[in-house]
Amino acid sequence: MSTATIALNNARIERSSRHTATIYLKEAKYEFLKNLRLRMYTASVLSFPIMFYVLFGLVLNSKEAIGGTSVPTYLIATYGTFGVMGASLFGTAAGLASDRGLGWLQVKRASPMPPFAYFAAKVITSMVFSTIIVLALFTLGITLGGVRMPFADFAHLLGTLVAGSLPFSTMGLALGYFTGPNSAPPTINLIYLPMSFCSGLWVPFMFLPKVVRQIALVLPPYHLSQLALGVVGAGAHQSNATHWEVLGAFAMICLGVARIGFQRDQDKMYG
């Protein structure tokens, strides 16, 4: 191949990678706008963790402390985990199940959209909503709950929680492939709500019955909440590496399941 051809090819590749980046950005932008305008999504995903936090962290127990950490601070970590988990599960599973079941995904697949852009948009959107939820809890905690931490700790907590949205996004993808447009939301709730309770996101972990605390050890939100609580000085005594490993392994399993669903769909009967 002559050098001229190589240069030409390179130029083309460069242009197309910029084009690809634009596609990923727009896909994510419109996924975000779509969910932001979806009252079903914002009402449940954004308002529940914030409402719970206001009620249990600011109105009822704001002067109390759990093991040396003030309740408003402690609950930022747990309701933060709860919010991140909801945003990520609903953000991926509900949309995917509906797009798959009602034909929209096929229109997208028939277009020249890079297939990965579709999934990336859902994952990124979940992270953006997770950020919004955590920042809202920070704002409420600081202004109304007297939460005080070094800036670095706030940043650390935010980073931890937002990174923690990834395993739940992968779980959402797996769920989205094995539920239908109507069954997705109730299925998500069926998993999300009991899992939140058992992981100590509503009732502080040490107040849970022993059997529930043992179940929690295999639940991903438990591990994320422990990482978050670790930042505010209220974690249990496992090492952070263990928590991250559990979350990582869980994400891998979910990706594997999602991959099976993706493969199955490629050859599935449609209408």
């Binding site: 727009k26 896909e27 096929q106 229109v107």
Partner: protein, 317 residues
């Protein structure tokens, strides 16, 4: 269905004969259901081809195979001489599919903006909105649109990349007459710009109004192919309805009449061709009134075609 001469068809129009999409001896099964059986079908550059058939005939399956949304069980699917899943082919094709739910909270222009980004050389948003008749609706959310307007948005998404080949799966289903005609005009406009169109429909009238060539599909098999005029000639002719003083037996004697039925105050006459029969009717009965001529319904056309193909024991044209 009123018989109209929408288009002066010319069977032997000279067009570039390059084949842009084809199904070759394709079988597709869904479990035990054989959706397509030995289908051979070609789309040539610059033509509008209609795949005509009742619901469940395999039209949508054929389109999905050509779009590379699923593989055939046997046979070969080619688009632009290559595999339909090839990303470069997808940049040259557009598709309008039947969709249960499109994201409803995005605005028309936002949907178009996103899909335009997928293509290397999209039309401008102004052109797209104009071509799909959506200028006044660009700020509406998809969920706020009527059925016909929603179809137009899907049409806009199909054409936004300025594709060479367009697949339209039942583009006018559920549209009222006016919306249907509008979409027909838009499809004709595309072909006048050199695009190739494959559309599926269960309206004989639609295939007649738009297509250069029609393939009739029934129960997964192509049972007839040809120009709309050729297809119509194979179907069961015309239905003439009128109020007349002539007796049934008198009517049966008119040459070309295949069947006569009483229908409330009027009679319904079936004939291969309407004109000679009508001429004879008017000559015999000066008081004749309420004259209506309609094409045979598609159901009857299918019946005729399927019976023919069964009799000949030959399923290809």
């Amino acid at each position: 269905m009123t018989a109209t001469m929408e288009k002066g068809q010319n069977a032997g129009v000279v067009r570039p004969e390059s084949i842009v999409a084809s199904l070759e001896a394709v079988n597709k099964n869904y479990g035990h259901v054989r959706a397509l059986r030995g289908v051979d079908f070609r789309v040539r550059s610059g033509e509008i081809v209609a795949l005509l058939g009742p619901n469940g005939a395999g039209k949508t399956t054929a389109v999905k195979l050509l779009l590379g949304l699923m593989p055939p069980n046997a046979g070969r699917v080619r688009v632009f001489g290559g595999d339909p899943t090839n990303p470069e082919n997808r940049m040259r094709t557009g598709a309008m599919l039947q969709v249960g739910r499109v994201p409803e909270t995005l605005r028309v222009r936002e949907h178009i903006d996103l899909f335009s980004t997928y293509y290397p050389r999209p039309m401008s948003s102004t052109e797209i909105l104009a071509a799909a008749g959506l200028e006044k609706l660009s700020d509406r959310k998809f969920g706020e649109l009527s059925g016909g307007q929603k179809q137009r948005v899907l049409f806009a998404l199909a054409i936004c990349g300025d594709p060479d080949l367009l697949f339209l799966d039942e583009p006018t289903v559920g549209l009222d007459v006016e919306a249907r005609r509008l979409l027909w005009d838009q499809i004709r406009e595309l072909v006048s710009r050199g695009k190739t169109v494959l559309l599926t429909t269960h309206y004989l009238q639609e295939a007649d109004a738009l297509a250069d060539r029609v393939a009739v599909i029934n129960q997964g098999e192509i049972i007839a192919q040809g120009t709309p005029a050729e297809i119509k000639a194979q179907t069961s002719g015309k239905r003439i309805r009128c109020i007349t003083s002539l007796s049934i037996s008198n009517l049966r004697q008119i040459p070309g009449v295949t069947e006569v039925k009483e229908d409330r105050e009027a009679v319904e006459i079936h004939a291969r061709e309407a004109e000679p029969v009508v001429r004879e009717l008017l000559a015999r009965d000066a008081t004749l009134s309420g004259l209506e001529i309609t094409s045979a319904g598609l159901e009857e056309a299918f019946l005729a075609l399927t019976q023919d193909s069964a009799r000949n024991g030959n399923h290809s044209n």
